[in-house]
Structures are given as C-alpha cells and as structure tokens.
C-alpha cells in the first residue's frame, strides 16, 4: 500500500565511502526524479540539499529510515573528521532498509583496489560474505553496477516507499533487475546466434563476445532492456560489456576475450561447455553471406 499523504515520509540518508560519485550523478538522470523525491524526506545527499548538514549528520543527530551507501567501505575512513565506521553502524542500526548503491558498495568494486586488505562492500568482499553490515544482511539490498542505472535505484526506492516486497538473489540483488543478462536485447544478437564475430571496433556488424571481450552473456544486468539514458547501451554503441554488475569487476584485459586455442574460456551463464561448443564450434564454420557483409549495404542490387 502506498504511503498516504498524511503519513510521515521516510527519511533518506545518502552516505559515501571510497567513491567517484558516479552513482550520485547517475541517479540525477532519473526521468521521474522530482516525483520520487516527493516520496522521501532527504536528510542528506552529496549533491542535493538535505534537511541536515554533514556536520549534524556525523553527530548522529538525524533520523534514518532508508540508508543509501555509495562507494567501497574503508574502516579507517573519516567523514567530517568522524569515523565512517561509527556513522555507518549508527544509521544502519536505525534504518529499515540499506541500499548499497553501486559495485563498490556491493562487492568492493573498483575501489577495493585502493586498499585491498581492508576495503570491502557492505556485506560482500567480492563474492565472499564479509563486511560491516554482514550481521544485518537481511536489511541490505545490493544494487551492483558501475555506476548504477538510475532506474534501478528509482525502482528500489519506489517499491520501498510503496511498502512492497523486493525479492533478492543470492548476492542480495533484486531479482526483477538482475535476472536478465546484459546480453538480452543487444542489437547484435543475430551475430551471436551465428557466431559471426566483429572484425574490429567501430563496426555495427558482428558480435563482440568472440574477440572483443564482451561479458554480456555472463553478466546479470538489464542494460539492454532498460536502456541507458533511455536511449542506448554499451554494446549497442559497439563497446563490450565489462561485467560491472558482477563481483569480479574490474577484471583484466577488458577489451579482449580470453581463449584457449580460439575457444572462449568463459561461456554464457548456466550452459555446459560441451553443449556450447557443439553448437558454437559448428556454427563458426558456416559462411552466411548476409551476416558477413555490411548491414546497410548501399551498393546492394535489389
């Protein structure tokens, strides 16, 4: 049941650990941002004005129903000269929901590398259960992604404001957002089906999985279903998916597909290598003129 107008709006705090602020900026692109902000009382946000100053916040004077945490968690970090550990512990205790906004807050992500021996996500250290809020992990929702898509956060905050359940997967990510693969909806799908690789970057023809390192078939994300900035996605723009919603982001050699004797080492999620190769190995030896030529061929005779 949605909040009635007479009910008090949930208090929202957006706190940051070791971050680039990318998630905060991505959130500002939310198409229905003004309407969403009406549903909450913004106590503190790194870009928007809140009812509390940072100083008041770190003195633990604020309310909190929903805590959003962006960035990797560094137990030695301070915000406004106060230990982040203390701030997080206090507000996580008050909050009914805790959202890890981005892969750094979910798994450690890019900035785990800033201090690998101590930086983690809120409840996961890459894929291992570890983090400051592990004991209350049932309250934590991981919105992994680098950065998050604004609609993923919009979805989560709206569901919370409307008092609806948000079922999550084994990594605490909402299943409605993370059940699809980044691969679903890519405009190059036919090239994937027939194993026609893209010969180089900068071409709309060809699949980026075989040589250009695309992690789409192995990455849980809705990027080709809920388009970025409502218009596009990496793979539609010819950039391989880097698998940024998964615990092992960032991997190495992001623009190259690792192969053993021309056979991709990593194959689509949930498919056995034998099954994949039986299909793929054969399809790779076909020559389908339509798929090997240019998609829009101006010299074509009809």
């Amino acid at each position: 049941m949605p909040y009635a107008s007479s009910e008090k709006k949930p208090a929202l705090i957006w706190l940051q650990g070791v971050t680039c602020n990318g998630n905060s900026h991505s959130f500002l692109n939310l198409p229905y941002l003004p309407q969403l902000l009406e549903k909450y009382e913004i106590i503190y946000h790194p870009l928007l004005e809140g009812t509390s100053t940072l100083h008041e916040l770190v003195l633990n004077k604020a309310e909190c129903d929903v805590l959003i945490f962006e960035g990797a968690y560094d137990p030695l970090m301070k915000r406004h000269n106060v230990s982040l550990k203390d701030i997080v512990t206090h507000y996580a205790g008050l909050a009914k929901y805790i959202i890890a906004a981005g892969s750094c807050a979910s798994f450690g992500g890019m900035f785990k590398a800033s201090a690998p021996e101590r930086n983690t996500g809120l409840i996961l250290n890459e894929s291992e259960p570890q983090g400051p809020l592990l004991v209350i992990k049932q309250k934590v929702i991981n919105l992994s992604g680098c950065p998050i898509h604004p609609e993923w956060l919009g979805f989560t905050l709206t569901m919370i404001a409307d008092n609806r359940e948000i079922p999550v997967d084994e990594l605490n990510r909402p299943i409605e957002l993370y059940s699809r693969l980044a691969h679903h909806g890519c405009t190059r799908n036919e090239y994937f089906e027939w194993k026609v690789d893209s010969k180089a970057f900068g071409l709309k023809e060809g699949c980026l999985f075989y040589e250009q390192g695309c992690r789409g078939p192995m990455t849980h994300a809705s990027c080709n279903h809920i388009l970025w900035n409502e218009v596009n996605s990496k793979t539609r723009a010819g950039t391989p998916c880097f698998g940024c919603t998964e615990p092992d982001f960032p991997r190495k050699n992001l623009f190259t597909t690792k192969t053993n004797m021309s056979i991709p080492v990593d194959i689509p999620v949930g498919i056995s290598k034998r099954s994949y190769l039986a299909l793929a190995g054969v399809a790779k030896t076909f020559h389908i003129k339509r798929l090997e030529g240019k998609l829009i061929d101006e010299k074509r005779n009809n």
């Binding site: 971050t19 990318g22 940072l54 406004h80 050699n253």
Partner: protein, 433 residues
C-alpha cells in the same frame, strides 16, 4: 585566530583552515583534501586498454574527460613510437561533441545545484532554488551524449584509432533533437532569452534585460559584491587542443603560446592534517584554469569586456561559465549537423601489445586542463600520471606564493570566501584521485 570549515557538495570533501586577522577577514587559508584512492597506483601493471575503463572512474561528473585524456595519451604513445595511428574527422568530431556535452551537463549542475543556492544564502534570500532544473538539463545533455557513447556516466567508447559507435542518420537526427530540446529549455527556463541573442552580448549591462534564473544570478552576484572580490593572479592557462579552444597562457589579456612539457606538480602545503592534493604549475608559476581561462584565450568579446571592468573576480568566473554553456551548446549542435557518417569510426592501429613508449593526452575538462601521462612496455602500463584542473585552481601553498584559490579568498569574510571557493567549481575526487 583560526577557524576550520569543512565543505561538502564539492564532489567530495575539503577542509579549509582560515587564519583570520583582527576584523575577522581571511589572512591566509590552508586547503586540505582528506580522501585518497590511489588511481595512479591502481593503473600500474594493467594492460594499456584497461585504462579506458579505469580512468573514467576517477570522477563521476567528468569521467568522460578522463576517457578522452586516456585515449589521447595512448594514441600519443603510438605516434611517439613511430607507429601508424590516425583517426577520421568523424571520430574526432564525435569525441569533441560528447566531451562538450559533458562540460555542458557539468555547468548546468553547478549553476543550479551549487551557485544559485549558495548565492541566495549569501544575499539572504528565502526563496528555494529550483535545483532540479539543473538535474533535468544535465539529463538531456547526457541523453544526447549517450546516443554516441552508449551511456553516461562511465562510457568507454573511445579506443585508439577512433570511437566504437557506428551510427546512421537516425541516431544523428535523434541526438540533434535532444540538443535542440536542451537549447529550448535553456532559452525558456533558464536564460529567458533567445540563445543567439545572449551569445551576442558585448557588455555585462545587457544582463539587466534578463528576467530569468541567469538574470537573477547576475543581479545577486553584484548584490554580494562579487565583482569586487575573489581576484586571483589574473593569469590563465588553457592546454587542451579542441575545436572550441585556443591553447595559450594569458597574463591579464596578453596571450602567449605554451608547451605542456613545462607543466609540473608539487605536494600541496599542509602543515597539520594529511592532504592528498597536489599543486599544478607552469614554469614554476600558478595559473587559473577553466571557463574564464578558455574564454580569455578565445578572446570572447563579452568576457574580455567584463574582464576589463572586473578583472578575474568571482563575478567574471561565474559569468564565464554561464557563457561557456551557451557557447558550447551552439558548437555541439554544429558538430552534430556536420558529421560525415561515411567516414570510418575506427582506423585500427597495430596491436597494442607491441607498443612500448611514452605518451601524453591533454583535454579541457569542465574545470580546466586535464593531463594524462603514460609509460607503456609491450602493452602494459608501467607508470601513469594524472594532473587535474582542480590542482591548478585549488592548490595549497605557503604565504609567499599563493595559489589562485588562496589569493581569491584572502581579505574576505569567511562566508564570502566560501562562496568564492565554490566559484572555481571544485572537484575533490579529481584533486586527490
């Protein structure tokens, strides 16, 4: 007496210790940036192309500038090693227009999320600033950007040899549509005037004809005496080569050519707290960077006139950034209209695993020049150095050699100083990375 202020809403945090004189005006300011992520160390040992994914994550609001600096650094390394590397005009223009769109979204956010609310506080206005206008305008700009780059923030669509997107007129026309929408919004809801007319302003007096957010900002700046405060060294630097810039250093209005090899850095001065910032210098001297510098180098008539009257005051700085928004909107529209789609998106260079050598990539980011220097050995990064615009503007040095921000804040009340500090458009995450 010393007063310490911690500032947020600057893409992170900074603390400023103000040494105050008898009438509570700032005698000396020590600026400290407390957070550090070690990006240059993270890049060491990584495959060279991975930098295209890593460096955008230095910053959430100007990551696209980092992407372009990286790709330019890699292409520079190819060229310095004597290897063939060319990019088509289409690829170059595409990179330019997405870079400019990022600058535009940055300025809209700064105008509405930072300057307007802070100015209203300064002149003690009770009205709530329409901050979400900034978010809206930025979202349209990044929509147009994403048609080429796939997404914003954190695209990696620039690769050595060009750009990964291979668009047709359908996409180009769509991008132009969003740019037009943004211009209409700017004219109707922000400027209160036709943009071409605004771009033809010659003096600041013409601002009084604006009954709009921008008109109000200009009025409030004068009301807060910002045209008489916030002077830095009156020295400017523009280093990024673009279709919308002139590379030059300016001492007052005198422009002279420059070479990036004379750029150096030093540790920021911080006697008590740990600061991870650095100061950037040209031939051992501090210069101001950003829209005011770019406008002076381009010899924009309005800005030159404002500078004649108000030098490099906080007023000049703010107006220059507002003007640059309009200037770039017009420029971006032109770039999109003139893209030749028959040209290749990527002219593939030789495999990067064979590349050993050094390269430098320089771009104009929203706040000023961004320099990336890379050393590669057989396709693997050995060293990576990043020098950011905020290191030019918001360095911290000793009393005998003040940085632009330190000079600008000197002699003012704390509240005026804090506003003047923000007129440089501070980016904490870039300063320390």
């Amino acid at each position: 007496m010393t007063k310490k202020e911690i500032i947020d809403h600057i893409e992170g945090e900074a603390s400023i210790s103000f040494d105050l004189n008898e009438d509570n005006h700032v005698d000396f300011a020590t600026i400290v940036f407390p957070h550090f992520r070690g990006m240059e160390a993270i890049l060491k040992g990584k495959p060279a192309l991975d930098a295209l994914v890593i460096t955008p994550r230095v910053c959430g609001i100007c990551g696209h500038a980092h992407l372009m600096a990286t790709v330019r650094a890699l292409e520079s390394a190819y060229a310095n090693a004597g290897l063939e590397i060319t990019i088509s005009q289409k690829a170059e223009s595409t990179r330019e227009l997405t870079l400019a769109l990022e600058i535009i979204q940055n300025h809209f956010k700064w105008i509405y999320l930072v300057i307007m609310p802070e100015l209203r506080k300064l002149v003690k206005s009770d009205e709530i600033a329409p901050v979400l206008k900034g978010a809206f305008a930025a979202s349209i700009a990044t929509k147009a950007l994403a048609i080429f780059a796939g997404q914003w923030p954190h695209s990696s669509y620039m690769v050595p040899g060009g750009v990964t997107c291979d668009i047709t007129h359908v996409e180009r026309i769509k991008a132009e549509g969003y740019i037009d929408e943004l211009i209409r919004f700017f004219e109707k809801d922000s400027l209160g005037m036709d943009m071409e007319t605004f771009l033809s302003f010659e003096t600041c007096n013409e601002f009084s004809s604006l009954d709009s957010d921008i008109g109000e900002i200009e009025k409030m700046l004068k009301e807060a005496n910002m045209h008489t405060l916030g002077f830095a060294h009156d020295r400017f630097i523009t280093l990024g080569k673009h279709s919308f810039t002139q590379i030059a250093k300016g001492i007052q209005t005198r422009l002279t050519p420059i070479e990036h090899k004379f750029v150096s850095t030093e540790k920021a001065y911080s006697p008590t707290d740990m600061s991870y910032a650095k100061n950037a210098l040209y031939k051992d001297t501090y210069y101001e960077a950003g829209p005011l510098s770019r406008a002076m180098a381009n010899q924009v008539p309005l800005i030159k006139n404002i500078h004649r009257r108000f030098k490099d005051s906080a007023y000049s700085r703010v107006i220059a950034r507002i003007h640059e928004t309009a200037y770039l909107l017009r420029h971006v529209k032109n770039l999109v209209q003139t893209l030749d789609l028959s040209e290749p998106s990527v002219i593939p260079p030789i495999d990067i695993d064979t590349l050993s050598g050094e390269g430098v990539g320089i771009v104009e980011a929203p706040r000023g020049p961004l320099i990336h220097r890379v050393k590669i050995e057989k396709g693997v990064i050995q060293e990576y150095e990043i020098i950011t615009p905020t290191q030019w503007n918001i360095g911290c040095s000793t009393k005998d050699k003040l940085t632009p921000a330190q000079v600008a804040m000197k002699g003012n009340s704390i509240s005026d100083s804090l506003f003047i500090f923000r007129t440089f458009d501070v980016c904490s995450v870039c300063t320390t990375h």
